[in-house]
């Protein structure tokens, strides 16, 4: 970490305010996690339902710290040649051809094979060297002068083998390339891993990380998030909207609406110039919040009651 980063992440409150300044409302746990991660030099493993702002956290932190965000999306079959480094085969091929042409010149004067071999040993081994190395996200993150925010997204989608492969970079901020040796980080990056709990991650990986769980926000926090993300929203509408979504989350649904869905819905309502939550309008726009037909059906029956309660909380009905 550079001194600059240390100043920006000087205390838990500073982290919270900093993130807020770039539009990310963090709760206390999130700020603590970022603060500790910087001071203990440990990656953060962020878990939680989809759409609560796991990826957004990394993006916002990068913006706040003015560091490059290097993102790696995980998927099944991802391997080191796509995550860490790759040899520039084309260039290597060209190199061999140049070598072929020059061979005559180089070995022209030698008389025996032994002599030629001797001469060959004299050349430095450039074939597998930094010249022909194509850095992929992980290696690039280690090479950044001023550090970087490295986001390893949806680690649970990758194979188990890949997890093991990450261990070295997570605990020591270095990678080993067999042909070259150990590459250490110029400046240790801030590493985020996100997971949707598609599968259980290994203990070895978890042990190396701070484990942050981001759940659905409470009404107060959600209201603040809406305020920052949808500026210009009417206060009363915001209260109704948050209350409605919070009630919706108490239902038994297949997929509960997340913060991102609340934001989308708020934008929709602003576009429709809605001031009061009317059951009909809610019914028409419910597909923004809920993504399953069965969920929409289940929630649809209770819209009247829920909108009424939301309006009461906003002080629109006695």
């Amino acid at each position: 970490m550079t001194a600059e980063t240390d100043v920006l992440l000087g205390s838990i409150d500073a982290v919270g305010q900093g993130l807020e300044s770039v539009g990310y409302i963090a709760n206390r746990q999130i700020s603590t996690a970022v603060y500790l991660s910087n001071h203990l030099q440990k990656p953060i493993l962020v878990e939680g339902p989809a759409g609560v702002g796991k990826t957004e956290l990394a993006k916002s932190l990068a913006t706040y710290l003015k560091l490059p965000l290097i993102r790696m999306q995980c998927y099944e079959g991802l391997d080191e040649s796509k995550a860490l480094y790759e040899w520039k085969y084309g260039k290597q091929l060209l190199y061999t051809q140049i070598l072929k042409d020059k061979l005559g010149q180089l070995f022209g004067l030698t008389e025996t094979i032994e002599q030629a071999l001797e001469k060959l040993h004299g050349f430095s081994d450039v074939f597998f060297s930094h010249h022909f190395l194509e850095p992929r996200p992980l290696l690039r993150a280690l090479q950044q002068e001023k550090g970087a925010v490295l986001l390893i997204d949806e680690i649970d989608k990758s194979d188990q083998e890949f997890e093991a492969f990450l261990l070295e970079i997570l605990s020591d901020y270095q990678v080993t390339i067999p042909e070259i040796g150990v590459v250490e980080a110029v400046t240790a990056p801030i590493v985020f891993l996100t997971s949707n709990s598609m599968r259980d991650l290994g203990d070895a990986l978890k042990r190396r990380c701070l484990h942050l769980h981001i759940g659905f926000p409470d009404a107060k926090l959600e209201a603040r998030i809406i305020d920052t993300r949808v500026p210009g929203i009417d206060q009363k509408l915001r209260i109704q909207l948050v209350s409605f979504v919070q009630q919706l989350r108490a239902l038994e649904l297949k997929k509960l609406p997340s913060v991102s869905e609340t934001i989308d819905w708020a934008r929709v309502l602003v576009l429709l110039h809605a001031g009061v939550l009317q059951p009909d309008m809610v019914r028409d726009t419910l597909n923004v919040l809920l993504k399953f037909e069965s969920d929409i059906e289940a929630a649809g029956k209770q819209i009247d009651g829920m909108t009424h309660k939301a309006r009461r909380e906003a002080g629109l009905v006695e």
């Binding site: 838990i12 206390r28 746990q29 603590t32 996690a33 500790l36 001071h39 203990l40 440990k42 953060i44 878990e47 391997d79 040899w87 085969y89 084309g90 290597q92 091929l93 194979d159 188990q160 083998e161 605990s171 020591d172 599968r199 259980d200 203990d203 978890k206 042990r207 701070l210 484990h211 942050l212 769980h213």
Partner: protein, 487 residues
């Protein structure tokens, strides 16, 4: 971080209360490795003890690595640090003795003093055997209502008598008494007695005050012991109970244990799935696939820069389960199905069937619904009738035989009691020839196979495995076998 060297360096700053808290968290069921305790210590170095929320958040970040663990951790944290509220008087009308007007402040100090840990040991209970001295001091503290000092004395006494060893609820009284005695309550009691005999006005008043103080102290110590029990012994008790449940017969299972049982089954299944579900694809190993290598390297004049290897796939077992859902076998069926469906990661294809008088396929129901309501639904659709194995087997042969191939393991779960109907052993024979393996799980003990209407001895010769299965332990063994056999 150099993990091996770290503990040595951290000796001095590794504070006692933190260590004890981690022990408590461990016994509550949070898994904490030694590397994680070192991290916890480093986190505390950065955060400090003063801001409790920050302390809890950061320890939770470092130590608890799943949502469940976080919940356990939070409970444990609250319980542990609640101890600082040691001696807030319970009855509102409690009279503050005039010489203890700074009591509240002391109280605060007492709370902070938790972090002092062993240094607090200079308190009163420290004097071993010096019963009278201890008694005098205790009396003085009781009269002065010096809560901080009492708290310290209590902690010290608790440590000396080894309160950490407490493991059962029934030991609460014993340990409470021991702590009190170590704190010197005996001489105080004698003094009260003597004062009462004396009978004078000041003596009686002193005796009253002492007695009130002692009563309060006893309540507090008892409280302390109970909390300690909850903190340190809960894990032990749970472990014991789980061990017991794993070996209990499923058909005799208490209703209130069912939920816990489900959790246990899911945990075991997860472990097995993790163990056998991995390494499904093996790359970079085995033989070179020449054809694919050349094709892959066409762009470079077929100079093999990228090698392609013959991928080896470990085939996952294909399983068909036939569950008897009549009467007493139903409980067993439920757990077997739960087991198999919890580990679909490790199995390639499960098809399940339920039968009593007739047989139906239930894979669809199980796939689309949560396992518990699904099972209830199945039992409603078909269940609890009297079983007819011959009929059910015939249904299976007619409709599903083509799906059975040499990679399929067929599991039949049932007691083999067909109510004197034709057992149709011929179908079982054909099934056994077709399938890779035929496993028969019977919840009855072997001694009752063949008694009454049981056709088990007729079926068992055709099964590759015919075994008793009526506890979660048995289930675990069967499923492990199944997965191993597939290799």
């Amino acid at each position: 971080m150099n993990e091996a060297a770290a503990p040595a360096q951290t000796g001095p700053s590794f504070s006692e209360p933190l260590r004890r808290f981690l022990t408590a968290a461990r016994s509550a069921g949070v898994r904490i490795s030694s590397a994680e305790s070192i991290d916890a210590m480093r986190a505390v170095d950065v955060i400090g003890f003063s801001d409790r929320t920050a302390l809890r958040d950061s320890l939770s970040l470092v130590v608890a690595k799943s949502l469940e663990e976080k919940q356990i951790f939070d409970d444990c944290f609250d319980l542990y640090f609640q101890r600082s509220d040691f001696d807030r008087p319970k009855e509102p009308g409690w009279r503050q003795p005039p010489d203890a007007d700074d009591g509240d402040e002391n109280d605060q100090n007492g709370a902070e003093g938790q972090s002092g840990g062993p240094n607090a040991g200079n308190g009163i209970g420290g004097g071993k055997g010096g019963g009278n001295v201890a008694g005098d001091k205790l009396a003085a503290m009781l009269l002065a209502d010096d809560r901080a000092a009492l708290a310290q004395a209590m902690e010290t006494a608790a440590e000396q008598i080894g309160l950490n060893k407490i493991s059962f609820f029934t030991q609460t009284n014993l340990y409470t008494r021991r702590i009190l005695e170590r704190m010197g309550v005996r001489p105080v009691e004698r003094e009260i007695e003597a004062l009462r005999k004396d009978g004078g006005n000041p003596a009686t008043s002193r005796a009253d005050r002492l007695e009130a103080g002692r009563e309060r102290l006893r309540d507090q110590v008892r409280d302390f012991v109970e909390r300690h029990l909850a903190l340190f012994a809960k894990g032990e008790n749970e472990k014991y109970r789980e061990e017991f449940l794993k070996q209990a017969r499923l058909s005799n299972m208490d209703r209130r244990d069912l939920d816990r049982m489900r959790v246990i089954v899911r945990d075991i299944a997860k472990k097995l799935a993790e163990k056998y579900g991995r390494n499904r694809k093996k790359k970079n190993r085995g033989q070179l696939d020449t054809r694919k290598t050349i094709r892959r390297n066409m762009a470079w004049d077929s100079i093999p820069f990228i090698t392609v290897w013959k991928q080896k796939k470990i085939d996952k077992p294909k399983v068909m389960v036939l569950c008897d859902v009549s009467g007493s076998v139903a409980a067993m069926s439920q757990f077997l199905l739960m087991f198999l469906y919890s580990m679909n990661e490790a199995l390639s294809n499960i098809r399940s069937f339920a039968f009593a008088g007739n047989l139906i396929e239930i894979s669809d129901i199980l796939e689309h619904e949560q396992i518990e309501p699904a099972i209830a639904k199945i039992l409603q659709q078909i269940g609890f009738g009297s079983s007819n194995y011959g009929n059910a087997l015939l249904d299976f042969e007619e409709a599903y035989f083509p799906a059975v191939d040499s990679k399929t393991t067929v599991i039949i779960l049932g007691d083999g009691r067909g109510n004197y109907n034709d057992p149709r052993t011929d179908i079982v024979m054909r099934l056994s020839e077709r399938a890779k393996r035929l496993i028969w799980l019977n919840p009855e003990y072997r001694s009752s196979w063949g008694t009454g209407d049981s056709d088990m001895p007729r079926y068992s010769p055709y099964c590759h495995v015919a075994t008793v299965c009526n506890t979660v332990r048995h289930l675990e063994n069967v499923v492990t076998d199944l997965l191993k056999g597939s290799r």
